[in-house]
């Protein structure tokens, strides 16, 4: 399994478990997110939608702005896209939180939208006490 897929399964499991236990919302893998007014259709690796906003989840897509988007670096050359165009796009769409998981550096960068731009933070508002640690591929 690739480093990206290992990180994907790990993050999806952790986030889904947390959201279920806290009944805070829905975690979805690789789902089409369509934000009509911003002319954006993307397929993030993981999205989270708060329970109070679950109406935006439709049969095969999310029509609206998710509360959290998580993207995972698949190759070191892929970082620029996630920290450039994608980050700008999610800020423009007013996605409140954006995480970039990098299995090559074993980091999860968390960004919170403040005044229209993302600021890196250690604390997530949506998953406040969740400690996400990407696994070392050597240790599985």
């Amino acid at each position: 399994m690739s480093l990206k897929n290992l990180a994907f399964v790990h993050l999806l499991t952790e986030l889904n478990y947390y959201a279920r236990v806290n009944q805070s919302g829905t975690v979805l893998p690789r789902t089409l997110v369509y934000i009509e007014e911003k002319e954006v259709a993307v397929i993030p690796d993981i999205v989270f939608v708060m329970r109070t906003r679950s109406g935006i989840i439709q049969k095969n897509r999310i029509c609206g702005v998710p509360d959290l988007v998580v993207e995972i670096v698949s190759h070191p050359s892929h970082r620029d896209k996630l920290l450039g165009k994608k980050k700008e796009t999610y800020a423009r769409c007013t996605v409140p939180e954006y995480w970039v998981a990098d299995p090559f550096e074993q980091t999860v960068r968390k960004y919170m939208l403040v005044g229209g731009t993302y600021q890196e933070t250690d604390n997530s508002r949506l998953f406040p006490d969740l400690q996400v640690q990407l696994l070392d591929s050597e240790k599985g």
Binding site: E39, V40, A41, V42, I43
Partner: protein, 75 residues
């Protein structure tokens, strides 16, 4: 391995297929543009045109596009 579209349809070797999948297989759209790099776009177009062949590609084009293409070649 070079992908060279020919007049007729060609089979796509697995290596070409694997190397030509753009953006991890995700078709994403932002501000009216596909989120592919120039290199990803080049590879996927060459693969698709190789698969259908140039003849079929021209058939698919609307008349306006064929005329445009002709003008470009005469250019």
């Amino acid at each position: 391995m070079k992908t060279i579209p020919k007049a007729e349809s060609q089979k796509i070797p697995f290596q070409v297929f694997e190397n030509s999948i753009p953006n991890e297989g995700k078709w994403e759209w932002i501000d009216g543009e596909l989120l592919f790099s120039d290199e990803e776009m080049r590879k996927v177009i060459l693969m698709l045109v190789s698969q259908i062949g140039l003849k079929k590609m021209i058939e698919i084009f609307p008349h306006e596009s064929r005329d445009e293409l002709e003008r470009l070649f005469k250019g």
